[in-house]
């Protein structure tokens, strides 16, 4: 029952709309089945499965609105939910930024639902965990990992005739492998819509290699270094920047995209000219949701950065209306267009540098310059004359993705990383400010 068909969802939405006495009404139904397995110290620690199905109805009277949520679907419960939403709306204060509902929209037919993932069961999860634990145990290494799978749907409808339905699946896997003496640590993460692409054993072998290779790390002086950021590391810094590309904050002068005199940097060249970032829900590697902005807007292909120039910011419907521009939704995943080289190729072409597997505990230091701090983790290595020479102790960095994307040396081939396509990047003058003893 957790995953309704398009017809079942439409029928319920129509029923709810018919119960409503409000000026405008919108309904959302979502359901999913989620399963997970967690392990540590080479043993499964927790495992579970949950099913969720819930309906949310929002009723509007002028600029007042109220929402109620239920997980019972008989007629009496549906009607009760509508009445409750109406009652909340009548008591609510007026929202001066309230927007009228959207009419019918054309949504993209995204391809994010795969049977291979929807079919995952407890046995699959146990085998996936075993596939990760077993090779570690055989090499006297210690694995701690987590896998979560989800299959679900979302349906939207409103009293102005809007209707949309989408199904999707996902599987996320990550593992940290440590040497038993705690002097080496490696990490790998994988995410797919299609579980048939996931092989926990092959993925874990990368983390095992990193763990073994990172033993006896040497301390280097903190300072500015040429770095090769693996896609996970690139992702975490670049996505933080993308999440700050809200137009209203920029217009209000409280964003890295604001500038002197109250103008914004839209249309300005802010990065190296090789930087191109788009989002595209139809990309087959990272199929996204057809819905954007949480308010029924269709998600579309958007160019965010082109040849280093800021091409678009994202908007709420209210702010776009006020500014008289198109209400572009914030992206789901992004596509950072890179080159063709592998990480190995990038290492080969590096005279002196640091290879960074991933970053950890990234926090904003200064929102004005998008300065972030954080640390390297689970595999940091010194490169000399095109080869990895030895593992190095972890560093703390203080760096802005804006500065980093101006110090671009080279880009590798993008790979799927946390729902985005991200290349490894070679960056000069990346700022490490102190050393950490953490392994």
């Amino acid at each position: 029952m957790a995953i309704l068909s398009k017809e079942e969802a439409k029928q319920i939405i129509d029923k709810v709309l018919a119960f409503s006495k409000a000026e405008e009404t919108s309904v959302g139904i979502s359901g999913d089945r989620k399963g997970n397995i967690r392990y540590a110290r080479n043993s499964v620690s927790t495992s579970g499965e949950t099913n969720d199905l819930s309906l949310s109805v929002t009723t509007d009277f002028g600029k007042k609105s109220g929402t109620s949520t239920i997980n019972e679907f008989d007629d009496a419960s549906l009607e009760k939910a509508v009445r409750r939403a109406e009652e909340i709306a009548r008591l609510a204060p007026e929202n001066p930024e309230h927007m009228p509902l959207l009419g019918p929209q054309k949504y993209l037919e995204t391809k994010g639902f795969l049977e291979s993932t929807a079919a995952i069961n407890p046995d699959y999860r146990a085998e996936a965990a075993f596939g990760s634990i077993d090779p570690c145990a055989k090499k006297n290494l210690t694995a701690a990992g987590f896998m979560e799978d989800r299959s679900g749907f979302t349906a939207l409808g409103n009293s102005k005739g809007l209707f949309g339905y989408s199904k999707s699946t996902s599987v996320n896997f990550s593992v940290t492998v440590r040497t038993t003496d705690g002097t080496g640590s490696g990490y790998v993460a994988r995410d797919y819509n299609d579980a048939s692409k996931l092989n926990t054993q092959t993925a874990t072998e990368i983390a095992m290699q990193k763990a073994m290779a990172s033993v006896n790390a040497k301390a280097l002086e903190p300072g500015k270094y040429t770095v090769i950021l693996e896609p996970v590391a690139t992702h975490d810094l670049v996505m933080n920047m993308i999440r700050n590309m809200d137009a209203r904050s920029a217009d209000e002068g409280r964003s890295f995209l604001g500038k002197k005199g109250g103008e914004t940097r839209l249309g300005e060249k802010l990065f190296d000219e090789r930087v191109n970032i788009i989002s595209d829900p139809m990309n087959v590697e990272i199929p996204g949701s057809p819905f954007g902005g949480g308010d029924g807007r269709p998600q579309e292909k958007v160019t965010w950065v082109e040849n280093g120039v800021v091409k678009n910011m994202y908007y709420s419907r209210y702010w776009a209306d006020k500014k008289g521009v198109k209400a572009i939704s914030p992206p789901g995943g992004i596509i950072f267009q890179g080159g063709t080289e592998s990480i190995a190729d990038l290492i080969k072409g590096t005279e002196k540098g640091i290879l960074v597997t991933r970053f950890w505990y990234i926090r904003t230091v200064d929102p004005q310059t998008l300065l972030y701090t954080g640390l390297t983790r689970d595999g940091t290595f010194y490169i000399e004359n095109g080869q990895i020479k030895y593992p190095v102790k972890n560093f703390r960095f203080n760096e802005s993705p804006v500065i980093m994307l101006n110090n671009l040396e080279a880009m590798g081939k993008p790979v799927r990383t946390s729902g985005s396509l991200i290349p490894p990047l070679k960056i000069r003058d990346f700022t490490f400010t102190s050393l950490s003893d953490a392994v």
Binding site: A40, G48, T69, A144, E252, D366
Partner: protein, 547 residues
């Protein structure tokens, strides 16, 4: 199985920088519904007995049951408008068992005799299935049944009984006060939480608890068109284990600090703080950029609480030390051999850190934890030496102890309980000393107030902290405001540089309302008390950049 709704309220009210997402658990309901009484204790007891019997009949050797109703009311305003009001309710039952020496857990919102019996059977089934992978059977520290008990947060005003309009009026007054004093923008939030949970175990405990928490906060922003600069100042409130009385702003609970700063103990004046916040955010625009180097730091409790949380609270969680969090939050430098040596100098001799779940008005204060253990206080660091950890019933044997520390918590009926942080607090100094006395003794230093940017490595060695406001100290006097300040240190070096403590009159608690841990992630709330404290020769960096 029907389960909680889990919504992320992104970017509402609070700036994305301060808090990317606020977890809302449950279904949205009318505010009045939050006051409806739920099941009485007798009915709950009967339902838990069904679970206990069903689990035992399926082969469980131990069972605990939590029937929980979790209520949240979150209000969001920006400038002169209400952005959102969320009233949420979530209820159901979570059943945890030991069968074949292995844990099993299952939860359901179907709180009927049939639903509960099925849920108990599933928990036993999962335990038996997982027992195939089990290396060592679970061994629980003994806990004598406590019979029927009740515990309630000793609040004076139930926040859920205060009309929504009164709360909105307060928030709009906060906005008005900030805007009148130079703020360009102000976003305010009120968070109220009530956990009504009934715990029963096969040990013979039946515990009914009613727990309340509150967190009023805001972010004031000042923009300067001429330079394009913007600066923020967050509220200097603390989340508390209190009712709405925390917002009374009682004068006797205020501590006057230098440069007009006010320390709030168990009562907070949100409007007064908003006025100061606007003035300070404005002052920050033209404040002097810090010269990097070594400084003696004078750290206010509303700042140091977070440093305690990150550099003492998390590393002394026993599950992290053992490796159970290795793939997510990380492990810990405070390894068992350091504790066993009985001479690991975590800090200077002045450093005495206690764990507790009993201190009045704190977020950690409850009568019993989520495995029925009565709460208590114990030492973590004594005279600078690491002497203990935070542990649950299945962990204390590792420490050679026979009684659990009472550190087990689940954020919802549908989440499995695991080891979570109790209050972790630095004891105040025994010598009489005010903040001004402390500043007088500093030649080259920085006085830091408020929670800012924070980051620490996965074993809790290296950290970097910012703050809300920074004042330069020269030759015993504050000379003016500084900007672009962050300090970096190593946990052991930092705590060994602890040179001076203010006394109990300056003691206040800081809190973390949405502390995350585990996979899937769970939240918890925890307080950290301390008085203003001095740390010598800490490395300060300049975080100013140009893009």
């Amino acid at each position: 199985m029907k389960r909680r709704d889990f919504m992320q309220m992104s970017g509402l009210g609070l700036s994305a920088i301060m808090m990317p997402s606020v977890p809302v658990i449950g279904s949205t309901v009318a505010a009045e519904h939050l006051l409806d009484p739920w099941m009485d204790a007798t009915s709950k007891k009967k339902l838990t007995e069904i679970a206990l019997n069903a689990a035992r009949s399926k082969g469980a050797t131990y069972t605990d049951v939590r029937i929980g109703r979790y209520l949240q009311q979150f209000l969001y305003t920006r400038e002169k408008q209400v952005q959102n009001i969320v009233n949420a309710e979530s209820y159901g039952i979570g059943i945890r068992v030991i069968a074949n020496g292995t844990w099993g857990f299952s939860a359901t919102s179907d709180v009927t005799p049939d639903g509960i019996a099925k849920c108990a059977a599933t928990a036993v089934e999962i335990a038996k299935a997982n027992s195939k992978f089990q290396k060592e059977p679970v061994e629980l520290a003994a806990q004598k049944g406590v019979g029927e008990q009740t515990w309630k947060t000793p609040l004076k005003k139930n926040a859920f009984e205060i009309p929504v309009q009164q709360k909105i009026d307060l928030m709009l007054n906060v906005s008005g006060a900030a805007l009148d004093n130079g703020a360009s923008f102000v976003a305010s939030n009120l968070f109220f939480v009530n956990e009504q949970k009934y715990f029963a175990s096969s040990d013979g405990s039946f515990i009914d608890q009613d727990i309340h928490r509150i967190w009023p906060t805001f972010t004031v922003t000042v923009t300067d068109k001429a330079t394009g600069k913007f600066k923020t100042r967050d509220a200097l409130s603390s989340p508390m284990g209190m009712g709405y009385e925390y917002l009374d702003g009682i004068a006797s609970e205020k501590i006057a600090g230098p440069n007009g700063l006010i320390g709030y103990r168990n009562s907070y004046d949100m409007v007064e703080d908003a006025v100061l916040a606007a003035k300070q955010a404005k002052e920050k625009i033209s404040a002097k950029s810090v010269e990097p180097g070594k400084y003696d730091l004078v750290l206010d409790p509303n700042h140091l609480g977070l440093t305690i949380h990150e550099s003492v609270g998390h590393p002394t969680e026993l599950d992290r030390v053992l490796g159970y969090e290795a793939n997510y939050a990380g492990t810990s430098f405070a390894t068992l051999d350091k504790w066993q040596s009985k001479n690991f100098a975590y800090g200077s001799k002045l450093v005495n850190i206690v764990a507790d779940k009993t201190q009045a008005n704190t977020l950690g204060a409850v009568g019993y934890d989520d495995e029925g253990v009565p709460c208590k206080e114990w030492d973590i660091i004594k005279d600078g030496i690491l002497v203990n950890y935070q542990a649950t019933r299945d962990q204390v044997k590792i420490l050679g102890e026979k009684e659990s520390h009472g550190c087990c918590y689940a954020d919802n009926w549908s989440s499995v309980q695991f080891q979570r942080m109790p209050n972790i607090s630095l004891k105040a100094g025994t010598e009489k000393r005010s903040v001004l006395d402390m500043i007088k003794g500093v030649e080259k230093g920085i006085y830091i107030v408020g929670r800012g940017s924070y980051s620490i490595d996965q074993q809790r060695y290296n950290f970097q902290f910012g703050g809300q406001v920074f004042y330069e100290i020269k030759n015993g006097e504050i000379t003016g405001m500084l900007e672009d300040v962050a300090y970096q240190s190593n946990t052991q070096e930092f705590w060994n540089s602890c040179a001076q403590l203010c006394d109990k009159d300056d003691y206040r608690t800081f809190g973390s309302f949405f502390d995350g841990k585990g996979q899937p992630s769970q939240i918890s709330a925890v307080s950290h008390g301390c008085a203003t404290t001095r740390f010598n020769g800490v490395n300060v960096i300049n975080t100013g950049r140009k893009i």
